[in-house]
């Protein structure tokens, strides 16, 4: 419990209306998209870097936890105030400060919703490619804090590749600027990259400078259907060997297709092993050549059917199946848990097979979606959080999946983050030294451990 004096201090900083502490409001900021929840002691909505700084100063003085929050849509538990304290809801700071069409950069506040930002720059013929699934409700600040990815990652990279600079408030309230509008910048350590993906544990963003690129003029979509999973994987490699980099290479396995067809029929073959939804983009001259080549390569690799969308409507129809996937899974079960293990691209069929073995072994339903271009797999565990016995099997299965992914030279998380959900596995991938170095950095920047405590690391200082 925080003292009345402390709450009064917070109200002085941000204003009466922007401090919430009723039990009802605390419940509304106790969760994100994972199942673990914890009540904060207070929710504060700052409107400026000065206010963020003032809040951090008083919190740091008293050692009170501060958890920055954007859309609260992440699936690693990064926004859950697991140690209570202050939830710093950043969504009032939601202005696009500048779209600089000469330097191809934008300067934004962290609370801008990603999808709205994308539509704003697209109106200028520009493109901000990172496209996490939650882009219509997640914020830029949250995306930078979790280094969000998305289907376009293979061709266009992830959020990290578009962050040029930032204004960030440190744990003690000091305000720092790093990076800026230039593409080239080797002045000192690359702190911009350090803070990107730090999940709110190192500082609070108050302004972000983002790189933009020209919006591709044209795009085309096709769906390739395979009777054997390795054929699809061979096709992906062959496409890349043919010097084509598709925008997306979205894999749906048989179980995923069966669920989609049961919930919202889109004409997917439920007897095929997999389907890959491929989109290419570029100039109106390039695109038809690319799509033709992709179709040929798929056919040559044993695709039993290749559906090329002739019109925008047909493309939308093909995409409808992939877009319906998550809802289909969510409707089939009380709880879905989405993992995002990532392996080197050529080992993707091996990993898919491992996941299927694990699912059989623990009698779990785990349909798989994936971004085949970058080896990022989403096994989606369909379960029920109220069934303790099944949840125990889920946890063992997840342990096993991670072990297999690491053995293949992969990583725990391609695009979701560590947060609460995967901190147990951090040392498996980084080793003792890796974890120690990260904790040293954390200690240097946040000696009192107030910023998003309980995340990324299994043990806090003093535990």
């Amino acid at each position: 419990m925080l003292s009345d004096n402390f709450l009064t201090e917070l109200r002085k900083i941000v204003g009466e209306d922007y401090v919430l502490s009723s039990p009802e409001d605390l419940v509304c900021y106790s969760y994100d998209a994972v199942t673990t929840t914890h009540l904060p002691d207070v929710v504060v909505f700052p409107a400026s870097a000065e206010e963020v700084s003032a809040v951090l100063k008083v919190a740091n003085g008293k050692g009170i936890p501060v958890v920055p929050r954007g859309g609260g849509t992440n699936i690693c538990g990064a926004s859950v105030p697991i140690k209570g304290g202050i939830v710093l809801a950043m969504n009032r700071m939601n202005k696009i400060l500048e779209i600089d069409t000469e330097n191809l950069v934008a300067v934004v506040q962290p609370g801008v919703v990603t999808g709205e930002f994308q539509r704003s720059v697209e109106a200028h013929g520009l493109f901000f490619p990172p496209d996490p699934q939650a882009l219509n409700m997640s914020t830029i600040g949250g995306n930078v804090a979790t280094n969000a990815g998305g289907p376009r990652g293979f061709k266009y990279g992830v959020t990290r590749d578009y962050v040029l600079g930032m204004q960030v408030v440190l744990a003690d309230g000091r305000v720092m600027r790093v990076g800026g509008k230039t593409i080239k910048n080797v002045t000192g350590y690359d702190l911009t990259k350090l803070f990107t993906g730090s999940e709110g544990t190192l500082g609070v963003f108050t302004e972000l400078t983002l790189r933009l690129i020209p919006l591709p003029e044209d795009k085309r979509t096709l769906l390739a259907i395979f009777d054997a999973l390795p054929d699809g994987a061979r096709a992906v490699s062959a496409i890349i060997k043919a010097k084509i980099i598709p925008t997306t290479l979205e894999l749906m396995d048989q179980e995923a297709m069966q669920l989609i067809e049961a919930s919202r029929p889109c004409g997917l073959p439920t007897d095929a092993a997999s389907a890959i939804l491929i989109e290419v983009d570029g100039s109106p001259v390039d695109v038809p050549v690319q799509i033709k080549k992709v179709a040929e390569v798929c056919a040559g690799c044993g695709a039993r059917e290749v559906r090329v969308a002739a019109t925008e409507e047909e493309a939308a129809q093909l995409w409808a199946s992939r877009k319906a996937a998550f809802a289909a899974m969510a409707r089939s079960t009380p709880t879905v848990m989405t993992e995002d293990i990532t392996v080197p691209r050529n080992l993707l069929p091996v990993m898919v097979e491992k996941i299927k073995q694990i699912a059989r072994k623990y009698q779990l339903r785990i349909p798989i979606l994936g971004h085949t271009g970058d080896g990022n797999l989403h096994p989606i565990i369909c379960t029920d959080e109220r069934n303790a016995e099944e949840m125990a099997r889920v946890h063992v299965a997840v342990d096993e999946m991670f072990r297999e992914a690491l053995a293949l030279g992969g990583t725990l998380s391609g695009e979701h983050g560590i947060g609460l959900e995967k901190k147990k596995y951090l040392e498996w991938e980084l080793g003792r030294t890796g974890v120690d170095v990260m904790r040293d950095m954390k200690r240097a920047l946040d000696p009192n451990g107030i910023l998003n405590p309980g995340k990324i690391f299994l043990r806090e200082d003093g535990e």
Binding site: L20, E24, C28, D32
Partner: protein, 418 residues
């Protein structure tokens, strides 16, 4: 907690993905979790688990839901937040803001057509005597939400049976005269009935109908809603009609859901039979008759606003657009976010004025961008709200029901568009 407990599984199904945030009109204005489905559903879960006690604040967050179903349409697991909120209003009845005023309005005024007429009469009188200007600021704002009222109600200006000559195949249909159609927009009801008659249908407008009960149901008053629903069901049974047509989106959606109101009772079957006969006038005209559209109207650009009670409560999207496009002289121009709630939501604008205006302003911005001369919509509550928004922004756009334009095209509109 009986009504809410029925939804326990659905409440647990919320995976807190936050997809509702992308579409919730109230969240766009308030920006806090308590004002979006994810927060509301979580609050209900905590209340069911006994971790949160019913409270005025809990009730306030429930009350702030427009019931527009935008979140339901966008929800991956398909949680019916609107229905859960109706159940929650029932459970939290004593804690709801303005509970007594609303109960008075619903139970005394809206339940009885004569009392409603009397209240409208008082408002007209006050406006004529210009004493409405003396109302205190907050009340004056709310009075401004009401449109200009017609000189006569539909009932007073209509003599039953004059034009009801069975033509063609002698099909006989019923017309549900809504409270709003009778009291506030009688010109729409007149246009609707004339258009139906011109299609060769015998139109029965029964005397004994009462309010459809939508407002009572939405506020959680099941008992009152059932009482009125049953009366309407009986009245139309006596009329012996093949269909019950309405020009009101909200009445239509309420009556089409009468079966749910009586679920598990002896009346369920009869209610379901009635509900299946109910149709919005646009749908009926486009799907059930060989539509005569007449000579067309002078050139005009028209856009269309989807009422929540049509697009998401009844799945009506194409029929009104088809109807408009079939009338000569109309250039149809779609607006951005045509299916986004206008913030009217029955009496929501009266009780949550600031939020409602925030929602409305976005709608008016998109309306303005179309450059349309006319805005068509199939819901009288939306119409009042949209007319208010248009006045508020000083625009010169008229709001009409699609059937008014059809009546004009058929040479049936004896009165100019408002």
């Amino acid at each position: 907690m009986k009504r809410l407990t029925q939804y326990a599984d659905e409440i647990y199904r919320c995976m807190r993905c936050g997809a509702c945030q992308a579409v919730c009109p109230v969240f766009a204005v308030i920006g806090q979790e308590g004002s979006v489905a994810r927060g509301r559903i979580r609050l209900m879960r905590e209340m069911l688990e006994g971790k949160l006690a019913p409270s005025p604040r809990l009730a306030k967050y429930v009350d702030l839901c427009l019931g527009c179903r935008l979140c339901v349409a966008n929800c991956p697991p398909g949680v019916n937040t609107d229905r859960i909120m109706v159940a929650a209003r029932h459970e939290l009845a004593g804690y709801l803001p303005h509970a007594r005023v609303k109960r008075l309005l619903l139970r005394q005024l809206l339940r009885n057509p004569r009392r409603f007429a009397a209240a409208m009469g008082v408002l007209k009188l006050a406006r004529r005597a210009r004493v409405n200007g003396l109302l205190p600021g907050a009340l004056k704002l709310r009075e401004d939400l009401m449109p200009a009222l017609p000189a006569h109600t539909f009932r007073r200006g209509w003599s039953q049976g004059t034009a009801a000559i069975p033509l063609g195949d002698g099909r006989r249909i019923g017309f549900f005269l809504s409270c709003m159609g009778n009291q506030v927009f009688p010109q729409v009801a007149r246009a609707a009935v004339r258009v139906l008659e011109r299609q060769g249908l015998e139109v029965i407008i029964p005397d004994g109908v009462v309010c459809c009960g939508a407002a009572h149901h939405h506020s959680g008053d099941w008992q009152m809603a059932r009482e009125m629903a049953w009366r309407n069901i009986m009245v139309f049974r006596e009329a012996g009609v093949e269909a019950v047509i309405t020009d009101c989106a909200s009445c239509g959606s309420a009556m089409r859901e009468y079966a749910g109101l009586f679920a598990g009772t002896d009346e369920a079957e009869e209610a379901a039979e009635f509900a299946a006969k109910v149709a919005d006038i646009s749908v009926f005209l486009v799907e059930k008759v060989d539509l005569l559209t007449g000579d067309g109207i002078p050139p005009v650009t028209v856009t269309y606003h989807d009422a929540c009670h049509l697009i998401r409560y009844q799945g009506v999207k194409h029929a009104p657009r088809q109807l408009l496009s079939s009338i000569g002289g109309i250039t149809f121009r779609e607006m951005v976010e045509a299916d986004r709630c206008c913030g009217g939501a029955g009496t929501y604008n009266l009780f949550n004025y600031q939020v409602s205006i925030g929602v409305l302003d976005r709608k008016i911005k998109h309306l303005k961008e179309t450059g349309a001369d006319l805005l068509a919509t199939g819901c009288p509550a939306c119409r009042m709200q949209l007319e208010y928004g248009i006045r508020r922004h000083g625009l010169d756009i008229k709001v009409v029901h699609p059937v008014e334009l059809l009546a004009l095209s058929l040479g049936l509109n004896t009165e100019p568009l408002a």
